[in-house]
């Protein structure tokens, strides 16, 4: 009798648990699925109930979003900025992290301290001073070149992206370098390899797992970034997230909804695919680094 009751209670608890899990999963999947389905709806369908399924495949939205709303162009801007900032960041951060982890030199403590302090400076606070600084550089450029080159510049945007993500990247990488055994380097030195060669051919390959984690996180950060791109690119050239927000406002005003959701799909899809492919590494890496925007 007693075990019977315990069994019922156990079943009841399990049912509640599943209901909770499924409810949360639905709250995430349904809106995202809805975006995909809305992206192939015709405009007239948006005036009915939003829960109705699309009547057909209205691919015209994609053509409109890519050409008319220029999302195709923004897409390539985003690809360019993300690739360039990642390259810059890795090229600059890896040697610095390695040296900070391995060498004793004058000023090492202060450099370490500076980068650690940098972890606490969020870019949202300093985006306006960065904008003003670039504006000032533009004035100088006007006098010399006759035009401003520091704003509306995808390369400058990439440099800012890479720079503002240095503290976190260096922190993660140098922590990893510290865990590697010194015997590999010593062997390389005995073989007569230079510092540079040792770093590039011995240590960097060994640090590959942490470098990949760092690339993943920074890829997401750069691809998704909104506020710096908005501030430093006031002209017509935009990255995808900024283009998307503009489209959101414009299409809502014009009551032309289809291309908006197409735009959402275009921004979301690469990230979702990457995530599904790498989710294990991503969630593991996160708990090591303790990262939060």
């Amino acid at each position: 009798m007693n075990t019977q009751r315990a069994l019922y209670r156990e079943r009841f608890a399990k049912a509640i648990i599943y209901i909770l899990l499924i409810a949360l999963a639905i709250s995430i999947i349904v809106p995202l699925f809805w975006v995909f389905s809305a992206s192939i709806k015709e405009n007239s369908e948006f005036y009915g109930n939003p829960w109705s399924l699309p009547k057909g495949l209205h691919w015209q939205n994609y053509r409109d979003a890519i050409r008319k709303a220029r999302l195709g162009e923004y897409f390539f801007n985003s690809v360019f900025v993300t690739a360039l900032s990642l390259t810059l960041l890795i090229a600059v951060a890896v040697p610095c992290a390695y040296v900070l982890a391995r060498f004793n030199f004058k000023g090492r403590k202060i450099v370490n301290l500076l980068f650690m302090a940098g972890l606490f400076v969020n870019v949202n606070y300093i985006v306006v001073p960065i904008f003003l600084m670039l504006l000032g550089w533009n004035d100088i450029a006007w006098e010399i070149l006759g035009r401003g080159i520091f704003l509306d510049n995808l390369v400058v945007l990439s440099v800012v992206y890479a720079s503002t993500n240095l503290p976190f990247t260096i922190y993660l990488l140098s922590n990893y370098f510290r865990t590697l055994s010194r015997s590999f380097e010593e062997a390389a030195y005995i073989d007569g390899a230079s510092h540079f060669k040792t770093m590039l051919h011995v240590m960097v390959p060994m640090a590959k797992p942490s470098i990949i984690t760092v690339i993943l996180f920074n890829f997401l950060a750069f691809w998704n970034e909104y506020i710096i791109a908005l501030t430093l690119m006031p002209g017509p050239r935009k990255t995808l997230p900024v283009g998307l927000v503009n489209l959101n406002q414009a299409q809502r005003a014009a009551a032309d909804y289809g291309p908006l959701y197409t735009g959402l799909v275009i921004v979301m899809l690469p990230v979702l695919i990457l995530y599904i492919m790498t989710q294990k590494r991503l969630t593991q890496g996160m708990t090591i680094g303790g990262i939060k925007e």
Binding site: A25, P95, F103, N104, Y125, I130, Y189, Y226, V267, E293
Partner: protein
Amino acid sequence: MKQKGSKIFVYSCIAPALLLFAVFMIYPTISVFRMSLYEWGGLSARRTFVGLKNFKVLLDDRFFLRSFQNTVLIITLVTIITLSIAIIFAYILIRERIKGENFFRVVFYIPNILSIAVIAAVFSAIYAPDQGLINGLGRLLNPDTWVNIQFLGNPRLVVYSVIGAMVWQAIGYYMVMYMASMGSIPTHLYEAAQIEGANRVRQFVDITLPLIWETVRTTLVFFIISSINISFLLVNVLTGGGPNGASEVFLSYLYRQAYNNASYGYGMAIGVVVFLFSFALAGLVSLVTKRDVVQY
């Protein structure tokens, strides 16, 4: 390590990173503090040193006080709601044998990888009056009596709508954090408790919570810092601070003053206050939640 050419190698490895860091992070950070002491309006180069005047003006600024209230409300509610949901789900996924455990873990984390621009667009679709998902569902269930809820148009409701989006975005991230921490608790502790007859809730309160307390404390600091930042991005895109300043938060007000209104000095004074506020609050929370570390 002593070897020829060490010095050159070391400094040429450090120099590029340090240079970029100095130009794009250290200098702008110092600028925030310096500029907060100046009156600097518009694109003209004219700056006047006004000392602490910006801060005095700030104290009487109705909109700033509104943004202060909103930010505190957001930090409190987002922390409480997200923390409880994330911890419960982490506990369920770690302790229970769930079919499709991996599926749930993967799905719950998805919002965390999406751009804030995407999240804002998704939530403006969810919250919209006529074509919105929630109002649409309401009309589907109650066709005759349903009155549209103005999630973003009602000044009393708009902050809670922002909070809803923030919780949705954050649950998965914190859940994964707590799962990692709970995963390292040895199972024999739970087995012993089971033999003693402790139920799920009891085990959670007496075993899990004390043993992950340090992680919870760390995440509390994350909650404060990230609530300030994410609420800014979200408000900026989703509501623009409106209607009429009702959803303004700290940094969105800073941004509007500095970038749109060109009152740079005033904007930076807000930045200084927010910076100090977040540090003080993080310190306070970390002090209040300090317990003797329980080990196993």
